[in-house]
C-alpha cells in the first residue's frame, strides 16, 4: 500500500465511514459464502477415494488454517505499523484481529486432530507442521495476555506489538515446514507451484469455504475495530467531563479560603 493510501484509511473517522459502508455487504456475502460452501462441502461433493468421507473435514480444516495464518500476518503487519508510525488505528487493527485469528487457529488444530485420528491413527504427532501451528496458537495467546498484562494499556500494546512482529518468523516456518522437514502432514496441494493438484469437485468447496472464512474475518475484525474506536471516543469524553466539576470545586474552595 502506498503511503498516501495508508494515511487515507489510517484516519479513524474515515475508517469508520469505510467500515460502515462495507459491513452490510460483508455480512451478506459471508452468509452467502457459507451457504454455498456448506452445501458443496457436505452435500454436493464426493467422498475421496483414499480418505473416504473424512475429506469433508478438510473443508473446515484447510480454510481455518489459511485464515489463521492470514490473520497473524494482519496482526504482525499492523503491529509493525504501530511500532514504526505510532498510529493508533494500527494498534486497534492488531488488537481487533488477534482473537479472530486465535479462533481459526484453534479450529484448524482441533479439526486436524479429528481428521488425524481416523487417517493417521493418532490425534496428535509432534511433527514440524503441527508443532509450528501449535506455536501459532501460543503466539496468539501471548499477544492477548500481553495486551492485558499492564496497568498502562500503551505499554501492553507496545509489548504485544513486539511479540507479534517477532512471531511473524513462524509464518514461513509453518508454510514450508512440510517441505523442509520430513513430516507426516501432507505437502501443499492448492497453493503451490504449477497450480492446484486436487479435483475441481473438491477444490470448489474448499475455495468457497475459504472465501467465506476470509469475508468473515474482515467482517468481525471491522466490527471489533469499530467497537474499540467508539469505546475510545467515549473514554476521551469521560476524561474531559470531570474537568468542569474539578474547576468548579477549585473555585468553590478558593472562595471559601
Amino acid at each position: 500500500m502506498s503511503g498516501s493510501a495508508f494515511h487515507r484509511f489510517a484516519n479513524p473517522r474515515r475508517f469508520l465511514r469505510l467500515a460502515d459502508a462495507l459491513m452490510p455487504w460483508l455480512a451478506g456475502l459471508t452468509a452467502l459464502g457459507f451457504a454455498v460452501g456448506l452445501y458443496l462441502a457436505l452435500w454436493a461433493s464426493p467422498p475421496d477415494y483414499q480418505q473416504g468421507e473424512t475429506v469433508r473435514i478438510m473443508y473446515v480444516h484447510v480454510p481455518a488454517a489459511w485464515i489463521a495464518m492470514f490473520a497473524y500476518c494482519w496482526v504482525g503487519a499492523a503491529s509493525a505499523a504501530a511500532l514504526i508510525w505510532r498510529h493508533p488505528l494500527a494498534d486497534v487493527a492488531a488488537e481487533a484481529a488477534s482473537p479472530v485469528g486465535a479462533a481459526f487457529t484453534l479450529l484448524a488444530l482441533v479439526s486436524g486432530s479429528l481428521w488425524g485420528r481416523p487417517m493417521w491413527g493418532a490425534y496428535w504427532v509432534w511433527d514440524a507442521r503441527l508443532t509450528s501451528f501449535l506455536l501459532l496458537l501460543f503466539l496468539y495467546l501471548g499477544h492477548w495476555a500481553l495486551l492485558n498484562a499492564f496497568d498502562d494499556p500503551q505499554r501492553g500494546r507496545r509489548s504485544a506489538a513486539i511479540l507479534a512482529v517477532v512471531g511473524l518468523i513462524n509464518v514461513p516456518i509453518i508454510k514450508f515446514s512440510v517441505d523442509w522437514w520430513n513430516t507426516l502432514h501432507q505437502p501443499a496441494s492448492v497453493m503451490k507451484m504449477g497450480g492446484p493438484s486436487i479435483d475441481p469437485s473438491m477444490l470448489h468447496p474448499l475455495l468457497a469455504m475459504a472465501l467465506a472464512c476470509q469475508l468473515y474475518f474482515f467482517l468481525v475484525t471491522f466490527m471489533r475495530m469499530k467497537a474499540m474506536l467508539l469505546e475510545a471516543r467515549r473514554q476521551t469524553r469521560l476524561y474531559r467531563a470531570p474537568r468542569v466539576p474539578a474547576a468548579a470545586r477549585r473555585t468553590a474552595e478558593g472562595g471559601r479560603a
Partner: protein
Amino acid sequence: MSEYFAMGGYAAFIWPSYALALVLLVGVFALAARRLEAATRALDDRGGDGRSDDRGDGGSEDDPAS
C-alpha cells in the same frame, strides 16, 4: 438419511469438526456484535450520534446547575 449422517462410519470425527466451527464462528461474531452494540449505545446515551463533538460535554460548562 441416517446413512448420510453416518458419513461412512466417520460421523464421530466429521460432525464435531463442523460443530466446533459453528460454535467458534457464531460465538466470536456474537461477542463482537454485542460489544459493538454496547459501544454504540454508550455513545448515544451521552447525546448526539457519536459523530458531532460540538454537542454534549462542552455544554455542561455553561450549565448553571454545575
